[in-house]
Amino acid sequence: MFGLADVNTFYASCEALFRPDLRGKPVVVLSNNDGCVIARSQAAKALGIKMGVPWFQIKTQDFPAKVHVFSSNYALYHSLSQRVMSALEEMTPKVEQYSIDEMFLNLTGIDGCEDFEHFGRRLRAHVLATTGLTIGVGSGPSKTLAKSAQWASKEWPQFKGVLALTSDNPKRTEALLMRQPVEEIWGVGRRIGKKLNLLGITNALELARTHPAFIRKNFSVVLERTVRELNGESCIPLEEMPPTKQQIVCSRSFGSRITTKLAMQQALCQYATRAAEKLRGERQYCRHISVFVRTSPHTAGETFYSNTAGEKLTLPTQDTRDIIGVAMRALDRIWLDGHRYMKAGIMLGDFTPYGVSQLNLFDEDRPRKNSAKLMKVLDGINQSGLGSVWFAGQGIDTEWKMKRDMLSPAWTTRWSDIPVARVI
């Protein structure tokens, strides 16, 4: 038996957690560079603010209530996500973090002492008492059914956020699957959903009753697995150890367009540094580094330009200096003057857990001496929160930095930002 716990309107709830004046008020969170709406509180949804709407469109709109707008504050969300996960781990033995606000739980054996919904309600109360955030808990004999249960618990308020689909009550499972549109099923999505609709398969129950062999022939083994899972056969196990990443991408859209090569070098230096930190966090070395730059495809009167360049290394590396070096050489090959660049990024790939491979006699690049030590010191300083050390190439005053005009304080991760309570 699997459970899926997810935090209700996670980003918007994080923003309101230390702002009692925002309880029940319309709150929206914007994507990087304050682009478009990526999260809405219940009250914001009620005003009809849609997901993905560009910010400039709602800025000028008149709403019956004041809408509180925030830039995305990932430091805060990550910190609160960690707290929710720890609270869940206190009550369930085996867990798998699926995303920043969702966690799969292994509930096998729970029903030896209480029924699943009773446990779900206790879990919900525990997380609320610990973190102040409200979760929903769906459970079922497979991950896909646990996801469907969680979807249904949100759709119908009478379940109060906790719903278990158990094999001893097939009627109830069927009734709920009949109401779940096919594109809402975990792992289906809009594109495959449209194809299924053409075949007359519109809801989860109809998909569950389709022959797996037919699905495998016309779609994929992945969708066939979904069909089996909908029938209560668990095919996707709980992964307690997340698999090692196969690539790391760091890319951003710029706050304002980049037109000079120096600014682009600084931006790529920054991304290279961030990517290298992530790589060391994964305890991996990479053998492939590539960068890309692109202009906006939608701006009238400008020619669209997008290009990428990369290098394969003879020596695997996790040293920021090597990664910056390759990134700069790659940029030299694809940089064109006269364009207004909107986005750039760096990708590290072809990982190996070992830094040493067979050296060639005539190789010019020997591994750097004491590289690991230096990087360890660097990461130590930057993660301590006491200060930061960075490469000169990243620049100091960066014109291309992300727009985050409406950023909330880092309530839980910076001393200068902790909430204030009046003594009266």
């Binding site: 009692p20 609270a87 610990t130 973190t131 909430p419 309570a421 009046r422 003594v423």
Partner: protein, 139 residues
């Protein structure tokens, strides 16, 4: 005449060679008693996931020793009991109050100039379990 016969060849005795170097001098008597240094978190924080830091602001609360700018350690998951110092939500902001549960639920002010609040619904951020300030800042 004495006959000499060759001695029976004894089998080679293999003596292990200890390659480990011996430390010259005396071993440190403290070596076997290595313990981790004391950590303030261990003393002040029992539930990491439920603990937040909040800064006190406003008229100081002399009898409690709580001053403007002090850092309070707040545990959300702690059951609030009679007489606890709590962070309460009052009209859209956080305030520090002393909690009274009986004879009736009330939030007692820290300053006689302010009224007692009888909330319809008690909204707490959590219980203040510790607070601290620098002694130098108080001089």
């Amino acid at each position: 005449m004495i006959m000499l016969s060759p001695a029976e060849r004894p089998s080679a005795l293999r003596i292990p060679l200890f390659a480990d170097r011996c430390a010259a001098g005396f071993p440190s008597p403290a070596q076997d008693y290595v313990e981790a240094e004391l950590d303030l978190n261990e003393l002040c924080i029992t539930r990491r996931a439920a603990t937040f830091f909040v800064r006190a602001s406003g008229s100081s609360m002399e009898e409690l020793g709580l001053y403007d700018g002090d850092v309070m350690i707040v545990d959300r998951a702690e059951q609030a009991a009679q007489g606890d110092i709590v962070i309460a939500e009052v009209s859209g902001e956080f305030t520090v109050k002393r909690l009274q549960l009986h004879p009736q639920v009330a939030l007692l002010p820290m300053n006689p100039a302010y009224p007692v609040i009888y909330p319809e619904e008690l909204q707490l951020l959590g219980v203040v379990t510790w607070f601290f300030h620098s002694t130098r800042a108080r001089r």
